[in-house]
Symmetry: C3
Subunit: 677 residues, 3 copies
Amino acid sequence: MLLDGNRIVLGTCYYPEHWPESMWREDLARMLANGIEVIRIAEFAWNKTEPEEGVFTYDFFDSFLDLCEEAGMKVIFCTPTATPPAWLTHKYPEALNCDLSGVPYRHGLRRHYNYNSPIYRSLSARITQKLAEHYAQRPCIIGWQLDNEFNCEVNVFYSEADSAAFRVFLKDKYQTLEKLNAAWGTAFWNQDYTDWAQVYVPRQTVGGRSNPHQELDYLRFISHSARSFAKLQSDILRPYLKPGDFITTNGLFGHLDNHAMTAESLDFLTYDSYPNFAYCMDTDHSDPTALYDRKWSRNLSETRAASPHFGIMEQQSGANGWINRMEAPTPRPGQMTLWTMQSIAHGADFVSYFRWRTCTMGTEIYWHGILDYSSRDNRRLRELKQIHAMTEKLAPVAGAAFKAEVAILRDYDNVWDAELDVWHGRVEEASQKALFAAAQRTHTPVDFVYADHASLEQLAKYKVIFCPHATIMTPACADMLTQYAERGGTVVFGCRTAYKNATGQCVMDRLPGLIAPLTGADIPEYSFIAPDAGRVTIDWDGTELEAAVFADLVEPVDGVREAVYTSDYYAGSGALVSKAVGKGRAYYYGTAFTEEAARVFMEKLGVASPWADVMELPESCELAVREKDGQAYAFVLNYKKDCAKVVVKRECADVLNGGTVCGEVVVPGYGVMVIKA
Amino acid sequence: MLLDGNRIVLGTCYYPEHWPESMWREDLARMLANGIEVIRIAEFAWNKTEPEEGVFTYDFFDSFLDLCEEAGMKVIFCTPTATPPAWLTHKYPEALNCDLSGVPYRHGLRRHYNYNSPIYRSLSARITQKLAEHYAQRPCIIGWQLDNEFNCEVNVFYSEADSAAFRVFLKDKYQTLEKLNAAWGTAFWNQDYTDWAQVYVPRQTVGGRSNPHQELDYLRFISHSARSFAKLQSDILRPYLKPGDFITTNGLFGHLDNHAMTAESLDFLTYDSYPNFAYCMDTDHSDPTALYDRKWSRNLSETRAASPHFGIMEQQSGANGWINRMEAPTPRPGQMTLWTMQSIAHGADFVSYFRWRTCTMGTEIYWHGILDYSSRDNRRLRELKQIHAMTEKLAPVAGAAFKAEVAILRDYDNVWDAELDVWHGRVEEASQKALFAAAQRTHTPVDFVYADHASLEQLAKYKVIFCPHATIMTPACADMLTQYAERGGTVVFGCRTAYKNATGQCVMDRLPGLIAPLTGADIPEYSFIAPDAGRVTIDWDGTELEAAVFADLVEPVDGVREAVYTSDYYAGSGALVSKAVGKGRAYYYGTAFTEEAARVFMEKLGVASPWADVMELPESCELAVREKDGQAYAFVLNYKKDCAKVVVKRECADVLNGGTVCGEVVVPGYGVMVIKA
Amino acid sequence: MLLDGNRIVLGTCYYPEHWPESMWREDLARMLANGIEVIRIAEFAWNKTEPEEGVFTYDFFDSFLDLCEEAGMKVIFCTPTATPPAWLTHKYPEALNCDLSGVPYRHGLRRHYNYNSPIYRSLSARITQKLAEHYAQRPCIIGWQLDNEFNCEVNVFYSEADSAAFRVFLKDKYQTLEKLNAAWGTAFWNQDYTDWAQVYVPRQTVGGRSNPHQELDYLRFISHSARSFAKLQSDILRPYLKPGDFITTNGLFGHLDNHAMTAESLDFLTYDSYPNFAYCMDTDHSDPTALYDRKWSRNLSETRAASPHFGIMEQQSGANGWINRMEAPTPRPGQMTLWTMQSIAHGADFVSYFRWRTCTMGTEIYWHGILDYSSRDNRRLRELKQIHAMTEKLAPVAGAAFKAEVAILRDYDNVWDAELDVWHGRVEEASQKALFAAAQRTHTPVDFVYADHASLEQLAKYKVIFCPHATIMTPACADMLTQYAERGGTVVFGCRTAYKNATGQCVMDRLPGLIAPLTGADIPEYSFIAPDAGRVTIDWDGTELEAAVFADLVEPVDGVREAVYTSDYYAGSGALVSKAVGKGRAYYYGTAFTEEAARVFMEKLGVASPWADVMELPESCELAVREKDGQAYAFVLNYKKDCAKVVVKRECADVLNGGTVCGEVVVPGYGVMVIKA
């Protein structure tokens, strides 16, 4: 039913355990009357099935599911492991995660467990099995969610069980301490290990940080641990599922290889989309170039990268806010619709609102659902009804693929390295922001592609690939990109590419290391741009660009010098080198991207604004395109409260309003237009 | 002698244990010569009476009290429990308070104990008993201070003893875990408790905070613990007191119901007043509307609320400063006088300066007393002598009540909820600041009244009551306010009133919940004002107000729409609804107060500037009025260094200077005028 | 060979354990070819000699030293105690330092040990002995470095072993608890100790800080502990050294009396000079008056104070940066030369670059050496070669003393008190910055002199001594300064001088306490300058100065009133008092120094710009002068990227370029000129 390529389906999150049983029936009827066909339940309800250790009761959800079946509501059921019961953590404190100092995180919030505790894994396996045995055959159930938001709240783990599991992980990886010592560069600062018992997850040090190669392996280990915990549950659930039922979980959170987890444990991934985080009271609003809620398109593209078919498990439908933080305003009239369309435009064919009723107790009393505390009809419920009407008109879009000619190449090792390594982090942050913003403002749809999970065939779909700062470069990746270029692709590297190997150690070759042959470049000198350097400029055939954060002085070996620095002591040194490779070309750009530089690259490489012949849009509107059976559907999303004027250059069908549009069209504030392009 | 309604009495704090015995006699004589009639002693001197566990010696204070009696100095003696001896906490570390992680706070500062440790309560009870037995009959002693500044330094407690006592407190309150689970909303996030042993005071969690209903009960528990510790001492002391001797303690600090503590353990409360905190080096001085030292009038009003008769136990007489923080300048010439008059104007008939000599050792070497390290005569000692002359002229004011027609209604549950709940906190902070500032600048005396300790009769004294954001509303409070209005009072509520019940859970009724009948209002929609919303305006009969922080869209049910929003998507929705109730009226204002809005309310409701027919004052002067036997005494306090011009509109007696004043009168910088009005 | 007064010698830091043995020979040859004559090795290589507890192997460094001897490279060998092996801290966690809460700092960085652990001292002694026995007679070795950067990373210690050693230290100092209680002022806040077991190093308290007199003793104890650990090693090494071989260590770090350590354990001190810390990405660059890398001259002067002959063990030769912090740019062309000359100008006759090759692994991959990862020839290697040529020309300067007529008097007790005491700290920080900047910009060379390590003869070399805020004054220091003045010297005190004694307790005398007789001054009143006071001015014979931070109102007793305050309520009170003393004069200035005030003092006292008759320099250049056998060598250092014009007023020999200079000379950006003056 979900993601079947035929319809866009709406859902919501419901918590029968929060409301008197007497309300259930009416709630279900009211949802259905407003277009909600699926509900997610039970992700925080361990006690409803196992109120004491080893005592299992099923009455509660049996009653509820009976009503669902009676009403015709479909259900996504969850494993409850995100919130261990008080009896569990009180009896087994070893199941708790700890901070870096070893102090446990206690009962009182959520996600306070660690993935590696043997007892927690055992009790989690048992409750999963019990739920599957009892509920999996219920006709109303269409799928399962594992846990809730793996790696949310905290994505570092320092319990004793984590150190024990880390040792096992490392033994699997390195076999011997000699190899571990070599990979971690323990010759530096006399850190050699002579016994596996000396090896721990990072602990408190005088500088707050540990060996960086250990830390890189540690982030890989966290991902491994979360995936292993997901797979533990998925492997138990799978045999009990009715044909067609799915397993998913909701993201996206850090220190987790979502691609691998999806491949090994899920049918598809879901995303929890809260664009109003952009307007939290404690958010910095001083950046005039910020994209605010439009930035969530980046997250949706990341989700699509890991799971080409995906849904939204939690779509914002009210104000955000915990009792102590994350205060955000109520979505303005139209924004709930806009954000739903944003999700659909980026590929989601299932959108489930968080949540039906706003909770009246606990930490999340300000995390509003569709209904307020009183559950009376309100403006957002009316908006839901309109959205439902829109999604019915969008049925032809279901199953359509997102269409992009440009990709931004990433991989998990580099994502994590950028987090650990402040040099890498600064260039990465600047360029990721710039590339995304330039793509948005030039109406150039982009995909994220993960090199560690991509095939040459996947790459070959794109005309241009930006690989901004793959500090860690592997021979496999360098080979794949070389072949991509040879077949006619254009690949653009930014500064600092390829000076590290997979351990995070620096290569002793001439830079840019493994991609030197591909780019024909050589980097005799490099530096952070000094805070007192002022504006450092580059001349690229008469176009002035500004160097950002870092300057590789890059010179051609068997490539071509395309641009030079024009200020500071860099003046006259090369800033951009390219090399023809087979039918394609590789570029090495010796700095991080500004938004302007990213735009210039897209324009010079001929991939900017691919729909310019169909439509002319103001920068303030996003363009996103899905395509199925040769038919493109172009979504125009207006994130501003003011109207936007769009010029449609040829007559196109208006999917939402019927009829056709041509010439100047006004998209209202927070409005959406979908045309067959 | 103190607070007898006949005289204003001056005192100081003296530490015989800091000085050679040879200095005592001269110090006492010099104090008396400068108008000091009372000294407080011994609040940090446990070791002087019990130098080792169970060994009691009385010689030290006996010698000192002999000298006091000889000199004619009166004494307030203290229980010494604020600073446990090293031998005690070394032997009984369980007496120590701990941080959230469970790490103890050690010997080396003060107030490092917890109120609930059985051994600390037992040893505290014993030293109190010993002191009472030995000293209570001394003729020079006129009263006792319990401990010193309960809940100063730290007002959260996380020791094992606190968890044990919390369980007892909760059992008393809820009887069963079922009721506790219901009150704490443990159905949310699967937090149900199945055994009392699972219940703790808040501990470290992944989000830094615990269940909010637990936390609200925890703050109530802290107050309960401090009160219980005070009462333990008071109950021991009381039987030993000479007739007329009093028990007090000094405040004000957080997480403590001062009303209840005063009622059950004290004869009256004292306040420690340090207005120069407003000028600390690390204070933000960027707010052009800040009231600085004048803000201390707010604290004095809070003290008066809890204890209509009160004194100042520590009145600033020199620069503040610990060795590591709280650096503030020396009071300027005149400020020590000004602040003393501020205290008296707000109701204090006893003012004791902190401290006679500045300490030469320990953490507080920069917390200056009247005398500097050398103890030579100085400018502040000369100022003291002048103050004494002034207080003698103010004898008729002694016992007079503070006079106000406007009250700001508060209650402890809402004070604590505003601390825990960031939505509540933001509106509360804005409105409290605005209402106080508007009252100050319009010369409208106000009282604070605590709904949880007030009777209808107390409320009836006021023409207008502002109840800005009583998020937690009880049926009793709603009833009392309804009766208040019915009898002719005007009550003004701000946004977010009454959406919670006493557990801190949100009501599932139409908002504003329990006060919907009283206000005739309905709130179909609400939101934080988004950071990008710009200035949100309201039109109230042609007067433009600015909405602050939050916007309830409020519509009349059986009330009247008084004002509407005029900007953003709120435009056209109601912003202020009123309803006639009996002889009075209730208002619901859908946002937080700006100072301008508060001023407009006071003016429109006819309570602004009640003494305008007697005096015309610049905004920079405070007006405070005390009344006794039908005679009003108006204090004009000039907080600026420049002269202020006051126009006295009818001939009035000048209490300090004798004679009468009429027409334009110049009050010098930091000067004070008191007239019979 | 080093510091022999005949030559300037260049060195580098080399890590044979980081590179394949096959690279060693070529590296050594290449160093020598570029002017490197000495290398430092082995400071982080404990495992290379003792890979398991009690198992010693010498092959690794034997092989390497064989190659050194073959190549003719001289070696500084290090004791390896800065980085304990994993096997050690795993087996003996008591060797670890802890944070204030008692949580250990673990393996994974460096310097995680405590100086007082008996087992760590024992194992450190043994490895030192083994290394000395085996290597000390090697001909290539010319000296030893103890550990590496004592008190770097962390300079507070809270392990159990530290508390145990602190008790021993205190018993030595005070003998009895009565004396300790008196010195620590435990009468304040009832802190008396009745058993030595109750005494600890500072621990967590509710205010974050402990008794300030205890804390002052604690900082003295840290210094004592580090010195004791250094001496433990030095005493073992010394008997094994070949004649002429030296012992040194590298600094400078806090909480360490470098004078005493040098005197008792070293032949001379070395400094690690990284001027590009001034340009770190996370440095505040908003201060327009900042001296940036020129400020390192202050550190070099401090090193010279502790060790008149000294070297640079680590001179910056590339970008700084740990993987997680301290990001700084690559030195610009010329800066490596400039900073080397800065070191030499201030007295260093040995300059060793950190490091030969940039490390490819571990925390310091961004702490660049001369060579980059690839080890190819680069710009910095070329610069080294030029520097070497320059140093050969500077051979006559070797052994020359730095020449200054002005001293800034300091002492360790006051350095530490300023760290603990925020009143002291604020005035000290302001005045130290101001005095150094004024001296730099007026081209007035200054020395630092430590009163606690100086003789009257040493003081007598200076015309003027600034003693800005010696809060703690001892009779010995007051006497020495009185004699200094009597013999003709001029001493200038700033506010707050001498109000404390050696315990850190305030004196009960009239201020300025022990220097009242010397200065003829009396301070009846004082205050921090209130944040709202605006600009507070002083008139000194028609020159307007601005008071900074603090205002002592200072009046003459038997001195002369030189300047008065002219604003705020201070107006008309004295701001500067002087008194003729013998052939000299003492000044008491009642506030902290601004740069302008410091300049005015230097000018009025006739010590500003002593080389003005030889040279006229722009403010942006530093002037530093060394003198030997009556010949002065004046170094002009241009810290700006733009050229500087210098006017040489008489014909002088140009040491670096040969020939003579006279008239206008252009010093290029980052350039250096050395003339015989």
